[in-house]
Symmetry: C2
Subunit: 149 residues, 2 copies
DNA sequence: CCATAATCATTGCAAATGCAATGATATATC
DNA sequence: GATATATCATTGCATTTGCAATGATTATGG
């Protein structure tokens, strides 16, 4: 088995390279890190999400959420409140500033992603989409039997 | 655009989840981290690689290589020498112990990967393989026009 | 109700990481 | 052949991360 042809390696390398392309947009230009970007992304659409829902909607664990949220609040991009019905939780919202930043960044991130995907044939794109969806299901199945995530 | 359906997000999540499954094998059981595993993987096959070739054969940068190699040498799994014809470089080799460890781990890592891939249909696997190969080429193309990697 | 356990988020600390600075060696220039 | 420049690897330092410990709040059992 050659490393370069080992499937998990190819997957990891391609995903990292793709990811780096996008981080270059929202990170280098706007100083957001991946977890922050994901939070903003979710909030820009939902406007308001509590910490439980957030855990379900991302792969971020609670420490990552807590820290990313603290930084985003610091920057004035999101708000964080403690709901009265259950004061262990947090409810996150997005500020006008945060929404504006998202509106500015998203098209650029999408453009960069498209730039890459558009350079693939339609057939290859479809294959990737299908394969990725199947992989997702396969890995989820594995996670159920082996715990953690 | 919904985060959960955003292609780059799906790719990153699937790749991370897959990766985690393998780290559970070589990491949790054998105390290797991803960079160390990659180095061992390369060396187990090539027996002997210099630092330049190493840079070409992985996506690890020189700091990652330097540190992973230092840890592996510390553990007695690889050797590191300075070649006389160019003393700026390093030549890495694998020890008998390192090779034995690799021989023990590889089947388990492959088994875990297969476990996941085998639960996909042959068609989905083929699609994933094709899509991934195309994506690799697409991202490489982009990297050439926008610096860095 | 009171005590205990459960469920969250946050914090502390050690390990890891990224990036710029340094050190070592080799190549190019004069 | 001495000096400047380039190419490596390593190290130092500030930041980030992961994991266990803590703190806050709520649910449960007597």
């Amino acid at each position: 088995m050659q490393l370069e042809s080992f499937f998990p390696y190819r997957l990891a390398v391609a995903a990292e390279a793709f990811s780096r392309q996008l981080i270059e947009v929202y990170g280098r230009t706007y100083g957001l890190k991946r977890e922050e970007w994901r939070l903003i992304f979710l909030l820009a659409r939902a406007q308001r999400i509590d910490s439980l829902e957030l855990g379900r909607r991302t792969t971020l664990d609670k420490v990552q959420v807590s820290r990313a949220a603290a930084r985003l609040e610091e920057k004035g991009l999101i708000t964080k409140t403690t709901p009265d019905n259950d004061r262990r939780l947090r409810v996150y919202g997005i500020t006008a500033e945060g929404q504006a930043l998202f509106n500015e960044i998203l098209p650029q991130v999408e453009a960069r992603a498209s730039e890459i995907l558009k350079s693939m044939s339609a057939e290859d794109r479809a294959a990737l989409d299908q394969g990725l969806e199947a992989l997702k299901r396969a890995v989820e199945g594995r996670r159920r039997s082996r715990g953690k995530g």
